[in-house]
């Protein structure tokens, strides 16, 4: 009876070590970060001249935060600020009158484009309801409430962990060896 209880005790201890080891590995491996599903998000772009900070264009840039309609669109979109000398502006959007506000859907379709003096009248306020951007089911990659934007996203890891067969074999070997030793000693 005594050897059997010893075996059970050893097996339990080894089992505990196995379970705690496995859970530790799982904890280490599960550094999964939810990546933004923003493939369908709109693109809100503002194009300004290089010295926009010292001109009235800065008011246009500020509009995306102060104007409620634009701020709402910005929150749902990829936001871009391009200056005149920016290579992306020069190669993708040449010839735009500055300053300019452009809203596109994810495939490049222009929802609205307003530039120059037109911006003074805030024409986006007169957009027909059916032309206004619809709330996007896949919002832009904004900082999520529970995510610290100052920290780097952790590496992507596979959630499907392989079963630790090696650990299991070691556990069985230890348990078997201990049983054998205990039985051998008791005889």
């Amino acid at each position: 009876m005594k050897p059997l209880s010893s075996v059970l005790l050893v097996c339990t201890l080894v089992g505990l070590i196995f379970v705690s080891g496995y859970s530790l590995i799982q904890k280490k491996e599960k550094q999964v970060v939810t990546l933004p599903e923003d493939g369908g998000a709109y693109h809100l772009s503002i194009f300004v001249s290089d010295n926009w900070r010292s001109t009235r264009e800065r008011e246009v840039v500020a509009l995306v935060d102060t104007d409620s309609t634009l701020a709402s669109i910005k929150a749902q979109s990829h936001f871009h600020l391009y200056t005149q000398s920016d290579p992306i502006y020069k190669t993708r959007f040449p010839g735009f009158e500055l300053p300019c506000i452009l809203l596109q859907d994810s495939s490049g379709g222009v929802i609205f484009k307003y530039s120059g003096p037109m911006l003074n009248n805030r024409p986006w306020l007169r957009l027909r309801p059916w032309l206004r951007p619809r709330p996007n089911p896949n919002p832009a990659p904004g900082p999520e409430p529970n995510v610290n934007v100052d920290t780097l996203p952790g590496p992507i890891q596979d959630t499907s962990l392989p079963f630790p067969w090696v650990l299991l074999v070691i556990t069985i070997l230890i348990a078997g060896g201990t049983t054998f030793l205990v039985q051998f000693r008791s005889r």
């Binding site: 990546l35 599903e37 596109q104 495939s107 490049g108 222009v110 780097l152 996203p153 992507i156």
Partner: protein, 176 residues
């Protein structure tokens, strides 16, 4: 009259169905695509293209100025950490990671070909078949087109490493 209307409607329907789906991919202008530099920095050059596409030329410049030469996946990850780049990667050849890069139009630096790295620009569908489009930093002006299944198998064979920065991708060209 009714027959003509029926034929016209059918024609319109056929036309609508045959219009290819609009699809965005990493189409950074050819003169902005980073060439391989310092005699062999393909890993870093691949990520430079991705960073420039995501309008982070500041980070791209810092990467290019501070890092060069042959690099492993660990070297690239360390560079990202050091420069404070927001990044995500797979080292296990997870095709879902590339699907996400394609879906969100971010692109990725991947290990492909022997001892080489290229930029994954996305998947495109042509003639009902899916292809991966790759930008080789040794000849970045054109895309390399590989059937998707073949690409996935080969990518896994070359180690299955892909890394991308996580910033907003460039907007599509208006009316693209």
């Amino acid at each position: 009259m009714r027959t003509k209307l029926l034929i016209l409607t059918s024609l319109l329907l056929v036309c609508c169905l045959s219009i290819p789906e609009k699809k965005a991919y990493l189409d950074l202008n050819t003169n902005l695509r980073q060439l391989n530099y310092n005699g062999g920095s393909c890993v870093y050059a691949s990520l430079c293209i991705v960073l420039d596409w995501q309008h982070r030329s500041d980070l791209s410049n810092r990467l290019r100025h501070n890092y060069s030469g042959a690099a492993s996946q660990g070297d690239l990850i360390r560079a990202c950490e050091s420069l404070g780049i927001n990044y995500a990667y797979t080292i296990k050849g997870d095709p879902e990671f590339l699907e996400w890069c394609d879906r969100t139009n971010r692109g990725a630096a991947i290990f492909y070909f022997n001892n080489h790295a290229v930029t994954f620009a996305g998947y495109i569908t042509r003639d009902k078949q899916k292809y991966a489009w790759l930008i080789d930093n040794n000849a970045p002006s054109k895309y390399i087109e590989v059937p998707k299944n073949q690409f996935i198998a080969e990518w896994k064979k070359y180690g299955g490493f892909a890394l991308t920065s996580v910033y907003s991708p460039s907007p599509p060209k208006p009316g693209a």
